[in-house]
Every structure is written in structure tokens, then in C-alpha cells.
């Protein structure tokens, strides 16, 4: 499936006219988020509260801390300016739905089971990191407040959040029996649609590759380092909160992955002066390809290691 992503990159490199219609991309997103939400909700409805609350607390901790240390590293070690460091920290702290889906397909193939409530963890981790990073950004000397209220509203009601959480709730209320009705639509084509989606992400990533050169090696190195750091801590914390090997792998992947639905939209609105040449490139052209190729197997390996 990663091959579809590679095909997308190649298409851009050879300057192909292949282009996804916008609405196809948007439709795939709606499908993916809603499907993940519903499936997670169904699983959640079968989960005891005691089994999930530790992981949930771990998730909140993780995604509040990631932007802090990411910001510190980016600003004081990598010497990015305050604003861009904060913008990138927001992306690293939030999560990538496609990386998550890809990881769960990877685990399925390897026959490694994982906790069904992980999509709920995904939903938990989508937003707090962005808020923390925006708070950090607002502390830049000489910067006035801006409309934090509005950004908060946009984040909570953003389509990513709404479909995920809406799906979760619907899945929980319907439970297994209700889900069976729509199962064929939300389960069967899932991998194929993910495949098309990866093709599209590949197309956009390909367009970003020239930016990597412009942004410099510094961006590449620190993006990778921070990813691996976040992911490794995530796997470790996952095991600590009692997750299975599969669950801890996913927790690591969530921690490592960088957002590209909620975070770019929020940054564009709240920190318009930040440079997409940094944050988008780091998220789409560096973090994403690394995670779906080397990252996922690495976190899975790490989880096995930590579990023993």
C-alpha cells in the first residue's frame, strides 16, 4: 500500500498531470474519519472503563508534553525562530489519521492484535497539542493576544474532530449490532480507499520535495529526531499504561506522527505568519514518509522489546 504513496511521489517528480479532484480528496477524508470513528466507537462500547482510562491519561500527558519539548528543541537547539518552532511543535504533537490507519493495517497483516479503543485515543490526541503550541506561540515577546477563543472554536468544530468524535459516539450508541448493517460500507473498502488516499498524499508530498532542499538539512534532521524521540517515548508509555504490543505500537505511532489535517488549518488561521515551507514540509514530506515506511516497523519492534 505504501507503493501507492510512492507512485504519487513519482507522479509529481515526472511532472505528471495526474491530479485528484478536490472533492475526491475531501470525500475520502470524510469517509476515513467517519469510518475510523464508527469502528472505534463500536469497539469502545465493548470496552470497560478501567481498561481505557490509564491509556487516555497517558495520551493527554503525551500530547501536552510533546509540543513543549519539541518546541524547546526546535527553538534552542535547532535555532528556529519562536513562531516557526511553535508551529512545527503543533504538528508534531497532533496526530496523523492516515499514518494510524496504515499502522493498524500493518498490525493486522502481521497478525498482531491491538486494543479496539485506540481510535478513541486518536481522537483525544488530535487537539490538545495544537492548543499547547498556540499558547507557546502567544508567549512570543511582543506578540498580542489574537482571537484565541475563535481558534479554539474552530479546532473543536473542525471537520476532523467532528467526524471522529461524532463517529465514535454513533458507533458507541449503535454497538456491534447496528454496525453490522453499515459494516460492508465502512469496513470492506477501507483499505482500498486508504490506498487511493496514500496516492493523493504522495502527490502532495512530491510537490513539497523541492521545499526540503530549500528548508535545509537542519529541518530534516530535527524532524526525524523529534519523530523518533516522540515515538519511542510513546511506545514505552503505551506499555506502561498496560497496552498490548499492538496497542503500544499504535500509541507510539500516534505520538510520532505529525498532523496534516487539523494542525495546518489551525496554524493557517492562528499563526498566519508561520512559514508552511517549514511546518508542512516537516509534516508531509519528512515525518509522514518516514513513519509509513521505517517508523511503523521500528515502533512495532520497540514494543516487542519493551514488553519483555
Amino acid at each position: 500500500m505504501v507503493l501507492a504513496f510512492v507512485l504519487g511521489i513519482i507522479a509529481t517528480l515526472v511532472r505528471s498531470d495526474l491530479k485528484f479532484p478536490d472533492s475526491l480528496y475531501q470525500s475520502l477524508t470524510i469517509y476515513l474519519l467517519f469510518a475510523i470513528g464508527i469502528k472505534g466507537g463500536v469497539k469502545l462500547s465493548e470496552t470497560h472503563f478501567e481498561d481505557v482510562y490509564k491509556t487516555a491519561i497517558g495520551a493527554i500527558m503525551m500530547c501536552s508534553m510533546i509540543p513543549i519539548w519539541s518546541f524547546l528543541i526546535l527553538k534552542f537547539v535547532a535555532r528556529f525562530d519562536h513562531l516557526n518552532a511553535a508551529a512545527m511543535a503543533a504538528h508534531f504533537g497532533s496526530v496523523s489519521v492516515v499514518t494510524f490507519s496504515q499502522a493498524s493495517v500493518f498490525l493486522e497483516q502481521k497478525g498482531i492484535s491491538f486494543e479496539g479503543f485506540m481510535p478513541a485515543i486518536l481522537a483525544i490526541m488530535e487537539i490538545p497539542a495544537i492548543l499547547v503550541a498556540l499558547y507557546i506561540a502567544s508567549k512570543e515577546p511582543g506578540r498580542q493576544g489574537g482571537s484565541r477563543q475563535q481558534v479554539l472554536h474552530e479546532l473543536l468544530t473542525g471537520k476532523g474532530n467532528l467526524l471522529l468524535i461524532g463517529g465514535l459516539v454513533i458507533g458507541m450508541l449503535t454497538g456491534k449490532k447496528g454496525f453490522e448493517q453499515v459494516n460492508s460500507f465502512f469496513e470492506i473498502p477501507f483499505k482500498g480507499i486508504l490506498c487511493l488516499f496514500l496516492l493523493e498524499v504522495g502527490l502532495v508530498t512530491g510537490r513539497r520535495i523541492p521545499d526540503i532542499r530549500q528548508a535545509g538539512i537542519k529541518l530534516v534532521i530535527f524532524s526525524l529526531l523529534i519523530q523518533i524521540l516522540n515515538g519511542s517515548i510513546g511506545v514505552w508509555l503505551g506499555i506502561q499504561t498496560g497496552l498490548s504490543i499492538g496497542g503500544a505500537t499504535l500509541f507510539g505511532v500516534l505520538s510520532a506522527s505529525a498532523s496534516y489535517i487539523a494542525a495546518p488549518a489551525a496554524i493557517r488561521m492562528a499563526l498566519p505568519e508561520a512559514n508552511p515551507g517549514y511546518y508542512l514540509t516537516a509534516s508531509l514530506a519528512i515525518a509522514f514518509p518516514f513513519n509509513v515506511t521505517l517508523g511503523i516497523p521500528y515502533y512495532s519492534y520497540l514494543a516487542t522489546l519493551f514488553a519483555n
Binding site: D22, Y25, V204, R207, P264, P272, E273, P276, L280, L284
Partner: protein, 100 residues
């Protein structure tokens, strides 16, 4: 045919601020507007996908004073920070009372 000169103000901006702009338009007295989804390239690079943020184009027929007020609002609130441009042209309309 009673053609009356009017101002057509065209705004091209990132969709992140679409709702704020249309709210501004209405509060400053525009009676309507037409929007469409566009793509573009400018000093802030390309805007061709959802990740990069799409552009929207808003056109509104208004009286000159209203146009000036809107442009002042746009200048003070968005210029310099957000991807946005605007330009003003003179057109002729029928039924001017419908736009002012």
C-alpha cells in the same frame, strides 16, 4: 436602461479567513456577495490543495464609501499577516437600490 456606476470589490484570500471576511462585508453594509473557489500563486507561494489552504474569491457590488470602508477593514485586520489581495473596479448596474 438606467445604468448607474457602482463599485465592484474583488477579494482573493485564503479560506482560513473566509467567514471573518463575509462577516465584515455584511457589517459594513454590503447587501450581497458572490463567492467561488479558486487557486492561485502569489508572494506566499502556491495555494493548490487543502493542505496549503485553498483560496476563495469574493466579489461584492457596493457603493464607493462602503468599498473604501471594507478595504480599510481588510487592511488593518488581515494585510501583512494573511494571504489576501483585493482590487476595486468600476462597473454599471441596473436597479442600484438593490445593492445599497
Amino acid at each position: 436602461m438606467n445604468l448607474v456606476p457602482f463599485k465592484l470589490l474583488t477579494i482573493v484570500a485564503t479560506d482560513a479567513i473566509e467567514h471573518r471576511i463575509t462577516k465584515d462585508l455584511k457589517s459594513l453594509g454590503a447587501k450581497g456577495y458572490t463567492r467561488s473557489e479558486v487557486e492561485g500563486e502569489g508572494i506566499h507561494g502556491k495555494h493548490f490543495s487543502d493542505w496549503e489552504g485553498r483560496n476563495i474569491k469574493i466579489e461584492t457590488l457596493v457603493k464607493e464609501e462602503v468599498a473604501i470602508q471594507i478595504m480599510e477593514k481588510l487592511s488593518s485586520d488581515y494585510f501583512g499577516k494573511y494571504s489576501i489581495i483585493c482590487f476595486l473596479s468600476t462597473v454599471e448596474v441596473l436597479r442600484p437600490e438593490r445593492f445599497a
